[in-house]
């Protein structure tokens, strides 16, 4: 029997006249690595197309194309890839095995390109995919090698690729710097959501002098934890962040804690966590818990393996400290907006009452 492999790419054709159009699905790694990808491909002269912001149609497409048991973010990824069909020459689908040494991402990230190709074998409307392995576990692996592989497949020269990588890293570092500075992640990402940023005269380096969004000062300080693709996709998070902000909450996200602080906060655990996104979530939750904080909301995707373990760890530590109220929101495609809103309101009420209670008891002690 002849084995027809779903992994065999049909021969790539780079048309000499026109550099290819690269599609980037607005899901999963997008929220952490968009500046790197966009700057890289644009520096090579490719045009970059993003899939539309998550909407009902994309969700439906994704749910139909994937297996029931997959988590919502993975289902959405299917939808986003499909939404790019016909608009691009290639969709960039990096296989993110590991983005930090000695760690992994979740198995679904590892199998994602294969899963998509599997689906594409039954459905001819899927766009052509550009796959590259990101594996920092191997020496010399990581993003540099992955981008090199991807661009070489498109037929670019090594010299040109290295140049593009340099600029792309500058963009990514700038983005990460802004996040650590406490800039609201969606607005830090927003400047990369339109094309041509790398061509702007000031380049990619200068820090934004724009006045930072004036955070409400008196409101409760709440840490919202969760994978970035879960939190910042306003469709799947039921617009949670904006909702909290509208209520005057000062929101802190895991991206604002740097890796070193995360490492310090988890040092006391006998076992190191081997998921890199997970390490960030656990580390920053434990770190923030020791700071003045009014509440912690953990947004988990239903069926997410790392979330089931990390959410539990965070909850247990929060309960032991007995200082920070904890809310776990588990979200899947059936989650209703009204239900989420009710829970958030109840949680905020609890925080307010708790604060008042503290004030009263303090007064009583004084009096």
């Amino acid at each position: 029997m002849k084995i027809t492999s779903v992994l065999t790419l049909s021969p790539t054709k780079v048309e000499a006249e026109r550099p290819p159009i690269i599609g980037i699905p607005r899901a999963l790694g997008y929220y952490e690595y968009l500046p790197l990808w966009r700057a890289f491909f644009e520096c090579l002269g490719c045009s970059v197309v993003l899939s539309p912001v998550t909407n009902k149609a994309i969700l439906d497409q994704g749910v139909r194309a994937s297996v029931d048991e997959a988590c919502l973010p993975v289902k959405l990824y299917y939808g986003h890839v499909k939404a790019l069909s016909g608009k691009t020459d290639y969709v960039f689908v990096p296989r993110m095995i590991s983005v930090q040494s000695k760690t992994y991402l979740c198995p679904k990230f590892l199998g994602l390109p294969d899963m998509l190709r599997g689906a594409a074998a039954f459905d001819s409307t899927y766009p052509q995919m550009l796959v590259a392995n990101v594996n920092s576990r191997l020496s010399g692996g990581g993003w540099d090698k992955a981008l090199m592989e991807a661009a070489e497949e498109l037929g670019f020269s090594r010299l040109r690729i290295r140049e593009a990588q340099k600029i792309a890293w500058k963009a990514q570092k700038d983005f990460e710097h802004r996040l650590i500075q406490g800039e609201y992640p969606p607005s830090a990402l927003a400047i990369w959501e339109k094309s041509g940023r790398v061509l702007e005269p000031e380049g990619v380096l200068p820090r934004s002098t724009k006045r930072r969004e004036s955070a409400p000062s008196g409101g409760p300080r709440i840490a919202v934890m969760g994978h970035s693709y879960q939190l910042f996709d306003s469709f799947t998070s039921m617009n949670l962040l904006a909702r909290l902000k509208a209520k005057g909450v000062r929101v802190i996200t895991p991206l604002a804690t740097d890796d070193e602080k995360c490492r310090q906060a988890t040092r006391f655990l006998p076992k190191r966590l081997f998921w890199s996104f997970g390490q960030k979530l656990l580390g920053s939750s434990l770190h923030l818990m020791n700071e003045p904080l009014d509440g912690l909301i953990y947004v988990a995707a239903f069926g997410c393996g790392p979330d089931s373990m990390i959410g539990e760890m965070v909850e247990r530590h929060a309960r032991r400290l007995d200082q920070v109220p904890y809310l776990l929101l588990t979200i899947d495609e059936h989650t209703g907006e009204a239900g989420v809103v009710t829970r958030i309101e109840a949680f905020l009420d609890l925080i307010t009452r708790r604060k008042e209670g503290h004030l009263l008891s303090a007064k009583a002690q004084l009096g």
Partner: protein, 367 residues
């Protein structure tokens, strides 16, 4: 030190043999019952996978009987099994149950870590004695696997329902009692003969079903609703992709012993799933291909609900089904799974396979 360990199929007999050889006191957890599972469900995170819940149940029941140390396997990702011991430690800690954990897993930095952990277990025993004990325990493991394989093969042929299971239970009991390598061999041969001399229907040409999937749900009959027994009684010859000795050799002993491994199986999966995804995702795909090539009539994939590697495998399964013309049924189990519901699904699958086989034979005759 009173050592206990989690149940997983016939693992208890093997670990008991090991600890007895090393003169270590042990308390095996009581057999898995409904109470075990409800204890686990009560204390484990809701969305964690089934094995974690069952382990917690085992530990709590063993602690009631006086155990103070747990011996279990670990891992370094990306499957969440590797992080079990940390979460379990936290849960037991909050419950006030004092259990010391000895985790057998690849060391993080230095081989010394593993040796130190082993030393904590073996105490004053010499390394040579440990090697001898491991070899003895492994011999038991292999003998048990042989018996289990034989039982799964001939169960569908028994004329008196329950005969095979009765002899198999006796065999396990007898293997447990053996004290020398020679006895193990004699015992195995004796019971294999006994099984074959049961009243059997030797004319029967049953359908053959391969079971693939996640290790725990494959090995532990109480977690998969006694699938092998039920399939046998429905008239199907059953084989499994992974047996205990293979898992012990690959996962715990890192392939030191000359036993058939799954390297080739993983290689077969390459065209469909080119990347390791943790757990047994690649093995599930590869083993399905192997079963198809060996002329099996169908494959059942089992896993705990939300198992990440199996979700990846499940997403790719349709391609294997199509290319190799083999029907695959995917079954996820969790604490809500009832045996009756499962039985109905198995019945329907077996019926379908029998009809399919009949049709093939008939059309073969005409052609």
């Amino acid at each position: 030190m009173k050592v206990t360990f989690p149940h997983m199929g016939n693992m208890a007999i093997v670990v008991k043999a090991l600890l007895k050889e090393l003169n270590i006191e042990f308390i095996p957890p009581p057999p898995i019952t409904k109470r075990t599972l409800s204890l686990g469900v009560q204390h484990a995170p809701e969305s964690a996978c089934l094995p974690l819940k069952m382990n917690i149940g085992n530990f709590l029941e063993a602690a009631e009987k006086g155990a103070d140390t747990v011996l279990m396997a670990g891992g370094i990702g990306p499957c969440r099994f590797g992080y079990y011991n940390q979460v379990q430690r936290e849960i037991l800690n909050d419950l006030g149950v004092n259990l010391n954990m000895i985790v057998l897993e690849p060391p993080d930095n230095h081989i010394g870590e593993l040796l130190k952990r082993l030393r904590a277990l073996t105490g004053s025993n010499s390394w040579w004695r440990l090697v001898k004990a491991i070899r003895f325990a492994f011999a038991k493991c292999e003998a048990l696997d042989d018996l289990e394989k034989a039982a799964s093969r001939i169960r569908c042929r028994e004329l008196q329902r329950g005969d095979v299971d009765r002899v198999y239970a006796q065999a396990c009991e007898a293997i447990d009692q053996t004290t020398t390598p020679k006895e193990i061999e004699q015992c195995r041969d004796e019971f294999l003969t006994k099984m074959r001399s049961l009243p059997l229907d030797h004319q029967k040409r049953p359908i053959r079903i391969g079971i693939v999937g996640e290790i725990y749900t494959l090995l532990e009959p109480s977690s998969n609703g006694f699938m092998e027994k039920n399939l046998g009684r429905l008239g199907a010859e059953v084989s499994r992709s992974i047996y205990l000795s293979e898992w012990v050799n690959e996962h715990l002993l890192k392939g030191l012993l000359p036993v058939k491994g799954h390297k080739l199986t993983r290689k077969r999966a390459q065209p469909y799933l080119s990347c390791m995804v943790g757990g047994h995702g690649q093995e599930s795909i590869g083993a399905t291909i192997e079963y198809a090539q060996q002329g099996y009539d169908g494959v059942i994939q089992v896993g705990p609900l939300t198992c990440m590697p199996e979700i990846v495998a499940q997403s790719i399964m349709p391609n294997v089904e199509k290319d190799f013309h083999i029907p695959v049924l995917t079954i996820y189990v969790d604490e809500q799974t009832g045996e009756a519901g499962l039985l109905t699904r198995l019945e329907a699958f077996v019926d379908m396979l029998e009809r399919r086989k009949r049709n093939q034979v008939e059309s073969g005759m005409q052609g």
